[in-house]
């Protein structure tokens, strides 16, 4: 796996997602149940807003002093007998890991869930070197056995698969003969994986947070596989994005709290582990410990206008509330990082050539920004991407012409006045029964699926009403206005004109202008 999970066009991927009724059902119900669980977990902590602010401060402080904390982390890991490698690129990172494994003449690798190892294409590189790599997170294991089906969620990678599909994968690939009961499937996977843990020579983990003053790696998991990966093989390699660091365990505690509650609505996950090289006198832990710190474009992000994106703690809460993710699913993003945070960081890591659609896959509803436990202004960063895409001339000519024209007429009272004067007659040929039924480009996108009212005549418009009603002879103006309003409503109707007796004109008018409520057409 690499950052990119699908070479097809965004539109094709989106249609695939929209057409996958099962996936949409699974994502929808996961979102709905996680919403309640997350809220409960957040409120029981107390003033959630203050916790978010604290989380944001910790992340921003660490990013501002990243050089210091990374130096401290590296010193402490080395002091404890571990080795540290700073990788500028994904090639350097996966190359180093390959070298460590080759130096040991090792073949058998177990791995716990790690997004950054996907990003650096580690599995691919190690497979080329002849290693057997086993993903031990249940979700990741299912995907691996299904011919490396890409993950569709940061936290729940196999969210798009149901129990029947999982049973089929296990039956096809592993000769599983049981039924689709989740407990049976899990017991089976556990038995297979237990053997793999015991055989493994190398354990590779990700890193939720590196604790700088201890030189330790903090893992947050629910299945316990991370602990086995770290404890059983003689050599452990932990891989971290260079921003995933906290000064001390005090900050780790705050962020773990935010992470568990935001990700899965738990107070804590089943396993919160702090690990590192085996110290003298300790009975378990790896004999050899390597920490790979991956830059792969992060320094550029740190130096630029998207720095806040590096605050991300990979909780996936923004995916769990995103109405777009809800309907298209994770695969449509074409990246191992889907959802709102994926739409922000994927173009930063992979470039606009491949990912310029992602920042537009958002209605800018702000649900992501609202839920983010470390207060990344996600929807604002999407707008920032759009600004960059525009300023680099990457938008289509039609879009540019329309938007430049819109900019002109939205800023000019004169032009807008003419528009109000002409809108009705300009749209007359496009309309039937007061609704626009055909039109150029953007209008087509609207009326393809929705009704759209025709603009009103200038004399029936709000501005005309406001001006006219202020005439000194108020009574006369009022009559005329009422009459005109009735005619406006009448323009929209085929059989009925004017307000019904005993009902407020505006009620009729409002409903008839949009819905079918007041419209007998």
């Amino acid at each position: 796996m690499s950052l990119k999970t699908d070479n097809r066009a965004f539109g094709v991927r989106t249609e695939d997602g929209i057409g996958d009724a099962f996936m949409r059902g699974a994502v929808g119900s996961a979102q709905d149940s996680l919403k309640t669980r997350r809220l409960t977990a957040a409120t029981t902590l107390g003033d959630w807003e203050r916790w978010r602010e604290l989380g944001q401060q910790i992340r921003q402080h660490t990013l501002e002093n990243l050089d210091y904390y990374l130096g401290q982390m590296a010193d402490n890991v080395e002091r404890r007998g571990g080795q540290v490698f700073f990788a500028r690129t994904k090639e350097e990172a996966s190359g180093y890991i390959r070298q460590v494994i080759e130096n040991k003449n090792a073949r058998k690798v177990v791995k716990s869930k790690s997004m950054v190892t996907e990003e650096i294409e580690m599995n691919h590189v190690l497979a080329e070197a002849g290693c057997e790599i086993i993903e031990t997170d249940l979700g990741e294991y299912i995907l691996q056995e299904d011919d490396w089906d890409p993950p569709s969620h940061i936290v729940a990678p196999a969210l798009h698969k149901n129990r029947n599909q999982i049973r089929d994968v296990f039956a096809d690939k592993l000769s599983y003969q049981g039924d689709e009961t989740p407990e049976h499937l899990a017991r089976f996977a556990r038995k297979v994986l237990r053997e793999k843990f015991l055989e493994a020579e190398i354990g590779i983990t990700g890193c939720n947070f590196a604790v700088a003053n201890l030189g330790a790696v903090n893992l947050v998991t629910n299945e316990g596989n991370g602990d086995l990966v770290a404890a059983l093989p003689k050599t452990q390699i932990a891989v971290m994005g260079m921003e995933r660091i906290v000064p001390t365990m005090e900050e780790m505690e705050v962020l773990d709290n935010l992470l568990c509650r935001s990700a899965v609505g738990q107070k804590l996950t089943s396993y919160i582990t702090v690990m590192g090289p085996r110290a003298e006198g300790e009975v378990d832990g790896p004999e050899e410990f390597h920490l790979v710190i991956v830059d792969n474009g992060r320094s550029d992000i740190l130096a630029g206008e998207f720095r806040e994106a590096l605050q991300c703690i990979r909780c996936g809460a923004c995916l769990n509330v995103c109405p777009v993710y809800r309907h298209i699913g994770g695969h449509a993003y074409g990246s191992i990082y889907p959802g709102p945070i994926g739409a922000v960081i994927t173009p930063l890591l992979g470039g606009y050539d491949d990912y310029k659609e992602l920042p537009y896959a958002s209605s800018l509803c702000g649900a992501c920004t609202d839920v983010c436990p470390v207060k990344i202004p996600l929807h604002e960063q999407l707008i920032l991407h759009r600004q960059n895409i525009v300023s680099q001339g990457r938008t289509g000519a039609a879009d540019r012409i329309q938007m430049k024209a819109a900019g002109k007429f939205l800023s000019s009272p004169g032009l807008f006045g003419s528009t109000l004067r002409l809108a009705y007659s300009m749209t007359k040929l496009m309309s039937r029964h007061g609704r626009i039924v055909r039109g150029p480009g953007p209008i087509e996108g609207w009326i393809g699926i929705r009704d759209m009212p025709q603009p009103v005549k200038k004399r029936d418009g709000f501005r005309a009403w406001y001006e006219n009603r202020e005439r000194p002879d108020g009574a006369a103006a009022e009559t005329e206005v009422a009459d005109r309003t009735a005619r406006t409503a009448g323009d929209l109707k085929t059989t009925e004109v004017g307000p019904k007796p005993g009902r407020d004109v505006s009620v009729e008018e409002a409903s008839s202008r949009i819905g079918r409520g007041g419209d007998n057409a």
């Binding site: 649900a367 991407h385 960059n388 938007m403 819109a406 009272p413 953007p442 108020g474 819905g515």
Partner: protein, 248 residues
């Protein structure tokens, strides 16, 4: 109290009844209104599409149009939220930053103004029937106003409010999103329409015409019966006996 009316371009082009209702309610509550005629659009369509320079021109036009206003009130949580974004857009701009802050500080969404500034929660409206309310994302999340529509609707005589399932999910409008990503928008508005229809309510109410055009337009196209009303029209609904006294 002097209030400048910000009509919004959707109301200007298509929904005069909404602007009218807003003015009538405000005046009934004792406000003196004016309408700065050079106003056009808050700039959101181009801003959200990434066309920053084009948007700034629209924003500057609005800052100038409302420069001498005491209060600016508009019937859209989304457009007012855009005003509130101006200081961010013009941060560090010596010519416009202060004006942007000034406009933000005096701008209110219609229901927000009634409750937060006028201190009124009962406007004496009467509307018989059941209704469900769609909270617009921009009003709730960007403007940060989730309460005032409900405080006012609770006091509308005869109106029964039905809870809307998944009310915090976006309806799929998103301005240019609805035409740039029509297929995704369609899925979103279909789910929203289904939730609205499920309430069995007679009226769908919101404080943003963009959302109402989207949900109402989709429901109309798919044959789901509902009467769509902007909250200003609801609050302007009067018992028949006092109707006609509006201008007195």
């Amino acid at each position: 109290m002097k209030v400048s009316i910000f009509s919004t371009c959707l109301v200007d082009l298509m929904f005069p009844g909404v602007g009218r209702a807003m003015v009538e309610v405000l005046e009934r509550l004792g406000c003196e209104t004016d309408f700065p005629a050079s106003q056009v659009c808050c700039g959101q369509p181009t801003y959200n599409s990434g066309y920053l320079e084009e948007s700034k021109q629209a924003m500057i036009n609005m800052m100038l149009a409302f420069e001498h206003s005491d209060y600016v009130v508009g019937p859209s949580g989304s457009c007012i939220a855009m005003f509130h974004e101006y200081p961010h857009v013009f941060a560090g701009d010596p010519q416009w930053e202060m004006k942007a802050i000034a406009l933000k500080e005096k701008s209110y969404e219609f229901t927000q103004f009634i409750v937060r500034v006028l201190g009124v929660t009962d406007v004496g409206a009467k509307l018989e029937g059941s209704a469900t309310y769609h909270r617009s994302c921009h009003m709730t999340r960007l403007l940060g106003e989730a309460e005032t529509p409900f405080l006012l609707l609770e006091n509308v005589d005869g109106l029964q409010l039905e809870p809307l399932k998944n009310s915090d999910n976006c309806c799929g409008f998103g301005g240019t999103f609805s035409v740039k990503m029509p297929r995704i928008s369609e899925q979103m508005v279909d789910e929203k329409s289904a939730c609205v229809a499920e309430t069995g309510a007679e009226y769908l109410i919101s404080a943003d015409m963009g959302c109402l055009m989207n949900i109402g337009g989709r429901m109309s196209r798919t044959g789901k019966e509902i009467k769509v009303m902007h909250i200003a029209e609801v609050l302007n609904s009067r018992p028949a006996a006092v109707k006609g006294g509006i201008y007195a």
